[in-house]
Symmetry: C2
Subunit: 408 residues, 2 copies
């Protein structure tokens, strides 16, 4: 069998497995996302070994999650996100500090060397906005205020995570270069803020030019070009590529508000490729690394601590919004997903964490991603019901506006 | 820069270059397709060297052209294609024999060894349905009878090309295994005919089950699974993967006829990925291989002969439909595109054609692909105008029906 055909077969297996388990989970009233990640664990090297993670799958996964965030960005006007900006910043900061401190402390108590403890703690800082957004999007509650807080906090979390990673990596390298860390931080924050603030007004100005283009679907194509461009810049700076794609979507949100075709098209790519992202996350798990009672204990402890510290840190950050919203935010920020995996991979490449600890961190990243979604459904059940009522009545704007004003 | 980021950057360059040239060509009243292929020649190794062809790009290109054909299949009911079946078969057979004989004769006259002559002749047999379909789709004339003849003939051409390739390859191998060639032919023809005939009725029966699924966009996801599945089977048999995707689309055509969202979603993937297919075709050109006056002469001769023989062979196959339709079919079948490239690559791998002859064949494959589209536009101008009138009046069915009945 030729190489391309072999990859098409892998894609077929991944997509089929993802959707069979998604269907099963939906029937069990559980989030499809969890089924699709477990499909990856199942067909991956851990259990059946039908598909090995590889570069091609990673690329499709990356494009898929980029489109997912681009799509979410398209439905997020900058003003709506800026309105919850202060709150999101507090949530993000507490959600970074809490897991980092407790993770570091646990690893030291476990007897790990300082640098290993620092890396594990950094992996626990990450938040995989992709997973939460996928679950909330499936429930149709992405435009609720709490979802916006989670989204904003996840973006800020990514920038903070980059700064933490820069500090920890340079500590591992031996010499801490403060100038370089500060410049990394300034560039990352500057990029995010500038694009978030000036992207939309700029797009408003160039919109007539785009609409005059003769190519097919000019708005869609230009949108993809901007998303790819900002993704590359973001990744080059050190922020996740998907943050760039999200900012691109947000810049275009106003211009494409009533462009139903644009949303359907990006949705077509998203629905096709996101399963590969989820399966790919699941496939990273290596259960063979978790054989000794000690590693299993550590994996479970770190996972529980990772969930608890994000839940408490971010929940406290949402103080004053009521218990239910605090819990929504706390659970919504818990999945570490691909961001935690990237930190673990970096640690392995830099040879500062061992193979077995790598397995432990990957387990934590995937387990937190599987644990959170089932709790998100009941927590957002009211909002989901209100959303379907609003969809039926065609008058969701008013109540939403009122709810939003309470949060300012 | 990390590896994934580097590839995202390559994709950005490819898409941007494709769309800049597409826009330029549209403004010059020329087909966008040609601009996008030339963008590949420009940024590829031949001229600027910004992007090298690689496996990842090939995969995206393959998925892109698969979705393109899947999309076309969705708009092609099997009955409509079977109605022009006999005609399409004649066009395909004459379109295979003519370029093969004349190509073989030219190479022998040029002094090439028999096996080299056979391989070049085989590469001249190929038809890249993707290119023609893209041009006709952009003009909105895909459901005209001549477009259907081209489509059907291109599918049959692919199967015939496989048989010719099987014979030529085994000749190159030294011993001709007739049993294996016959079984290849029977399987390829059987697969195509069975799926074309029984795909749609089968889908009609399972449609209620698909609609009862709880996963998001069940029809779209099942459609992709079927397309991927048939693509893998087709490729494994030896037919192009895109033929499988096309047959999958055709099987679903009836079930998704009024599912506008489905078409928009597949269209979203197509518009995103097809430019990579076109740019990738252009990037294969290696102008450095065409340095001596002899190779340049040969490249030009083969290209002219390739165009002329398909034009005459297929045109004659459309005898009796009037001059304009004969020319439509003759020009529509001329592009060799990726199918010719695959044959050339196989010849290079089997070491039966030299590096410089490889360059010549690739030049032919790409040049025929660039030459044909500008002629398709004026040839289909009447149909395109009728189509826009019908779109405005919302009553295209009647005239189309009449035109179709004349062809039986």
């Amino acid at each position: 069998m030729e190489h391309t055909t072999e990859i098409l077969l892998q894609l077929l297996i991944m997509l089929a497995a993802a959707k069979v388990l998604a269907e099963l989970f939906e029937r069990l009233q559980q989030p499809a996302v969890v089924g699709e990640i477990l499909a990856g664990v199942l067909i991956g090297p851990s259990v059946l070994g039908w598909v090995e993670p590889n570069e091609m799958i990673s690329l499709l996964a990356e494009i898929g999650v980029m489109f997912l965030l681009f799509n979410v960005g398209l439905e997020t006007k900058p003003a709506a996100l800026l309105r919850v900006g202060v709150r999101a910043t507090i949530v993000a900061i507490l959600g970074v500090i809490t897991p980092f401190i407790f993770g570091y402390w646990l690893m030291l108590a476990w007897g790990a060397p300082t640098i290993e403890a620092l890396f594990v703690a950094t992996a626990m800082v990450a938040t995989s906005v992709g997973i939460t957004v996928r679950v909330l999007g499936a429930m149709g509650v992405l435009d609720t205020p709490t979802a916006r807080i989670i989204l904003g906090a996840a973006v800020i979390d990514d920038v903070l995570g980059l700064i933490v990673l820069a500090i920890v990596s340079s500590t591992a390298g031996g010499t801490v270069n403060y100038t370089s860390i500060i410049s990394t931080a300034v560039i990352a924050i500057g990029f995010t803020v500038v694009v978030a603030l000036y992207g939309a007004p700029l797009m408003r100005r160039v919109l007539p030019t785009i609409q005059r283009l003769r190519i097919k679907e000019p708005m869609y194509i230009v949108g993809i070009l901007i998303a790819l461009g900002l993704a590359v810049v973001a990744a080059d700076i050190g922020v996740s590529a998907i943050i760039g794609a999200f900012l691109a979507g947000m810049a275009l949100a106003e211009a494409t508000e009533h462009d139903h075709g644009m949303h359907q098209r990006t949705n077509g790519v998203t629905e096709f490729l996101v399963p590969f992202f989820l399966v790919n996350v699941g496939m990273q798990v290596n259960l063979a690394a978790l054989t000794t009672p000690a590693t299993i204990t550590l994996a479970v402890l770190i996972t529980l601590l990772a969930v608890a510290t994000k839940f408490i840190g971010c929940g406290v950050g949402a103080w004053g919004l009521g218990w239910r919203r605090m819990m929504q935010v706390g659970v919504g920020m818990a999945p570490r997903g691909e961001v935690g995996i990237v930190v673990a991979q970096l640690g392995l490449t830099m040879a500062v964490i061992s193979d077995s600890l790598y397995g432990v961190v990957i387990f934590m990243a995937v387990a937190t991603t599987i644990i959170a979604p089932p709790f998100l459904r009941p927590l957002f059940a009211n909002e989901a019901a209100a959303q379907s009522r609003a969809d039926i009545l065609g008058a969701g704007g008013v109540g939403r506006q009122k709810e939003l004003s309470q949060l300012r």
